[in-house]
């Protein structure tokens, strides 16, 4: 009797940050990965849990659709490796974190939110509660144009931000 645990071990190789070397292939906008002297080309980094576990990355071959390996926490990669990987990921996963909320106004059709994110100021529109999800203690907002914003922790927001957010959560 083999368990799911065994199957997971067989299917997803978890690598230590120093076991793996990553190179960026500018042409393809993909990665080349070196593990144990083996080379995998055309590898795409995927965040399977982009919101609940954002530092978890699965490397998957775009050629064979095989899961090459998993890095459980990319923050533990060497500095230049990490920044190289993050450059690729930041484009693929553009999920700014909201750090402050200036105001939220209701126009009768939309809620217009003026916020400060870790990627700069932004104004966006949402329709209502159904654009707001809670995952664990995080809040995910998907605006009318399908942009995604993240609030790491409602409790840690400032007083004004909390009061404004009360309009939409």
């Amino acid at each position: 009797m083999s368990s799911v645990k065994d199957y997971a071990k067989a299917s997803f190789r978890i690598v230590d940050p120093d076991e793996v070397r990553i190179e960026y292939d500018e042409n393809e906008d993909l990665l080349t990965i070196y593990i144990d002297g083996k080379v995998y080309r055309g590898v795409e980094p995927i965040k399977p849990f982009p919101l609940s576990n954002p530092y978890y990355v699965l490397f998957r071959s775009t050629l064979t659709h095989e899961d090459v390996c998993v890095v459980r926490d990319i923050r533990r990669l060497k500095r230049e490796q990490r920044s190289l990987l993050e450059a690729v990921l930041n484009k693929r996963y553009f999920i700014p974190s909201i750090v402050d909320v200036y105001d939220i106004t209701y126009t009768g059709e939309y809620y217009v939110c003026r916020v400060k994110t870790d990627r700069g100021d932004r104004i966006f529109k949402i329709i209502g509660r159904r654009n707001v999800y809670r995952i664990d203690d995080k809040i995910v907002i998907i605006d009318v144009d399908e942009n995604i914003y993240l609030i790491e922790s409602y409790e840690k927001m400032g007083r004004r931000a909390k009061e404004e957010l009360m309009k939409i959560i």
């Binding site: 199957y7 849990f49 609940s52 998993v70 995952i135 995604i148």
Partner: protein, 699 residues
């Protein structure tokens, strides 16, 4: 009747032998069952040993007891309306066991239930406030202190008029005004303390009532949904709990306040002028009588009204999730009409209680105001005649209005009090109900190996209307079996019994040789994984839905389970991958996607026994093959039961069980069953021909 024959029980039916309302009787003795018609003639007389099985068959508006005799004859023993269904279930049970022990036990239980409901519903609710008793006492005490403060101003008024203004004592004026202001300030502060503490207590109590109701409901098995609709259960947690909240945050304190201020104002009035006091209090006995009359009538009126409004929520809980069906059939109008009917019932019931109110309250208010008018009259005469001072009369009138204020309050509270107590009663009765299926005291934790045995199992969702009849089969550890059969034949029911959602009627189910009624329910279910026919996902992320089967699963295990269910690839295509929300009940996913996530949710828990009830019916055959291969890997060594209509899904299992109308009709491998040329062979050849036809068309 011979000497050694004695009557065990007698049941009277309300349908005669001629099929009209009338009387017929069933006697069960220690030897026979005998049916008499209304003139005492014997219609049937059956010796108990001749009977091979008993069942109750339901028809529209009536039912009958049907006996199958050992010689194969079928006896339609006696008919009765549905109102007597319970009694005759017992009759059927008695015939079956020909002993009276069971019914005695049942009666005893009903008595106990009645006993437990005795406690006054609102007192029952107060039990939940015990943890917050300090806050509750503080709230009520500050309320009462507020009352005593409230008694002072009229007293000051008398001093102000008689001793200051009329006595021309200018210098006292500022003193008395200051005292009045300070008193008011103090009373506002006390009011704030009271409001906060009482609302704190009531919210906390509502919280714990809701939690314990939820926990209580969760102790039940899914069969509770056969008796209670989910809408009704929901409304007990939401509506009823909030009505009770009203009682604690407002009602209880108002009640105490009113009673206390009544008593103290009455004392003040008597101190001021006894004769006027007698007049003021004259309507009181009438009031008390009126209110008690009212509450007696109001009880059933409010229960009725309450049921009408839960009818509405039950309908909405049913229809709104079924919205796509409504639209697909263009039944908006029909549903609107259904809702209108129920809503107008609410209106009607509401008007009925309004009318009830009107029959009492205007009359009571009239009594009160006439008493006040009479006091003005008599008091006015007294002041004119010099019997009392104007100050006394003003203070008196002011007290009297304070007296009837609380009385008006009490009267107006009767109605919401009744509502709250109705709600409390419903909560109480649900809490008093015990799940029929629960762990027996000596049940055990079992480390399941996977040996399943059904021994002559009989089962019906309503007693004696059997859906499974004498089902016996055995599955060895690690064996993979398929169950096939026409729809409605009882396949899913077999799995529900194995999970102990219901208890068997007769016979027993063994796992590793232990009767499942002796295994802890949680231990049993943790080791059986089921993908049900219409899997329900929750409105949460895909990852959390999969993790439902194993809350502490690692990210790799979540992905591995999805991989086994061939869901990993499609999940990675979704914008938020594994964090993608599934929507209510999984509505944001396709049917096949939903099924695959349900499979992942089940396999991740590594069950010892795996049941797949039409688990791949909504996925295409190529994906199904893929899932089968991946599952084979993981299912090796686990007992697996696969239920499917698509016979290609199950044809290569170790053994097939063919069920028809609740009975096992064939057992064997695919080849053996084809050889036998029975039901399975027929099902196979129809499906095979369809396939052939498809293949020809596509060529």
């Amino acid at each position: 009747m011979s000497d050694d024959e004695s009557i065990v029980a007698r049941f009277e039916s309300d349908i005669g032998v001629d099929g009209r309302y009338g009387v017929s009787q069933l006697f069960i003795t220690n030897k026979r069952c005998i049916v008499y018609d209304d003139r005492g003639r014997v219609v049937h007389s059956i010796d108990l040993p001749c009977i091979s099985s008993v069942s109750v068959v339901d028809y529209v508006g009536n039912s009958e007891i049907k006996l199958t005799l050992r010689d194969g004859r079928i006896i339609h023993l006696i008919r009765f309306t549905r109102s007597l269904r319970r009694e005759f279930n017992e009759a059927a049970g008695l015939i079956e066991s020909a002993s009276s022990i069971r019914s005695a036990i049942d009666n005893q239980r009903v008595e106990q239930e009645k006993m437990r409901l005795k406690m006054e519903p609102l007192l029952f609710v107060l039990k939940f406030a015990i943890p917050y008793k300090l806050a509750l006492i503080l709230g009520i005490a500050s309320g009462i202190a507020g009352i005593f403060l409230g008694l002072l101003p009229p007293y000051y008024l008398r001093i102000l008029i008689d001793d200051v203004i009329l006595a021309q004592r200018r210098e006292q004026l500022i003193v008395i005004i200051t005292i009045i202001i300070v008193t008011q300030a103090l009373s506002s502060a006390l009011g704030a303390v009271r409001s906060y503490t009482l609302s704190y207590v009531s919210l906390k109590v509502m919280y714990s009532i809701r939690v314990s109701l939820f926990r209580h409901i969760m102790r039940f098995q899914p069969n509770i949904l056969d008796t209670y609709e989910s809408g009704r259960l929901i409304s007990r947690i939401t509506d009823d709990a909030s009505r009770v909240n009203w009682f604690l945050s407002w009602g209880l304190e108002q009640l105490l306040r009113s009673v206390i201020s009544l008593a103290s104002v009455a004392a003040m009035i008597f101190a001021l002028d006894q004769r006027l006091a007698m007049i003021a209090l004259a309507p009181l006995p009438l009031l008390i009588f009126g209110v008690s009359m009212f509450s007696r009538k109001a009880r059933w009126v409010y229960h009725y009204e309450w049921r009408r409004s839960t009818d509405v929520s039950a309908l909405l809980v049913d229809v709104i999730p079924g919205f796509p069906v409504v639209k697909a059939y263009c039944m908006e109008g029909y549903e609107e009409d259904r809702l209108k009917t129920r809503l107008s019932e609410v209106v009607k019931a509401g008007l009925r209680s309004t009318i009830l109110n009107l029959e009492f309250f205007p009359m009571l208010s009239f009594l009160i105001s006439s008493a006040t008018a009479i006091i003005w009259w008599i008091g006015g005469l007294e002041v004119l005649g010099g019997g009392i001072t104007l100050g006394v009369l003003s203070a008196f009138i002011s007290y009297v209005s304070q007296f009837y204020g609380p009385i008006q309050m009490l009267i107006s509270m009767v109605e919401p009090m009744k509502r709250a107590s109705t709600a409390a009663e419903r909560i109480q009765s649900l809490m008093a109900m015990d799940p029929s299926i629960r762990d027996s005291p000596n049940s055990i934790d079992l480390d399941v190996k996977g040996w399943i045995k059904f021994e002559n199992v009989w089962f019906g969702y309503t007693p004696y209307a059997y859906v499974l009849k004498n089902v016996s089969f055995e599955v060895k550890p690690g064996e993979k079996i398929g169950i096939v059969g026409p729809t409605g034949s009882g396949k899913t029911t077999i799995t529900k019994l194995l999970l102990r959602f219901y208890d068997v009627g007769k016979g027993r189910i063994l796992i590793d040789g232990v009767d499942i009624r002796d295994i802890k329910i949680e231990s049993l279910r943790r080791q059986i994984g089921i993908v049900s026919q219409d899997p329900r996902l929750f409105n949460d992320s895909i990852a959390n839905n999969i993790r439902y089967g194993k809350p502490d699963a690692t990210p790799e295990e979540v992905m591995a389970a999805a991989k086994i269910a061939l869901a990993h690839d499609f999940i990675l295509e979704k914008p938020l991958r594994y964090d993608t929300p599934c929507g209510e009940g999984g509505s944001m996913l396709s049917g096949g996607e939903r099924q695959r996530i349900a499979i992942a949710r089940t396999v991740i828990s590594d069950p010892k026994i795996l049941i797949l009830d039409e688990a791949t019916s909504s996925v295409d055959t190529i994906t199904e093959d893929g899932i089968k291969k991946a599952l084979d890997n993981i299912a090796r060594g686990r007992t697996t039961i696969i239920i499917a209509h698509r016979l290609s899904t199950v044809k290569d299992v170790d053994r097939l069980i063919v069920v028809d109308k609740g009975e096992i009709v064939e057992v064997g491998t695919h080849e053996e069953l084809l050889e036998r040329n029975g039901l399975y062979a027929r099902l196979w050849s129809t499906q095979f021909q369809e396939k052939l036809a498809d293949a020809m068309v596509s060529q």
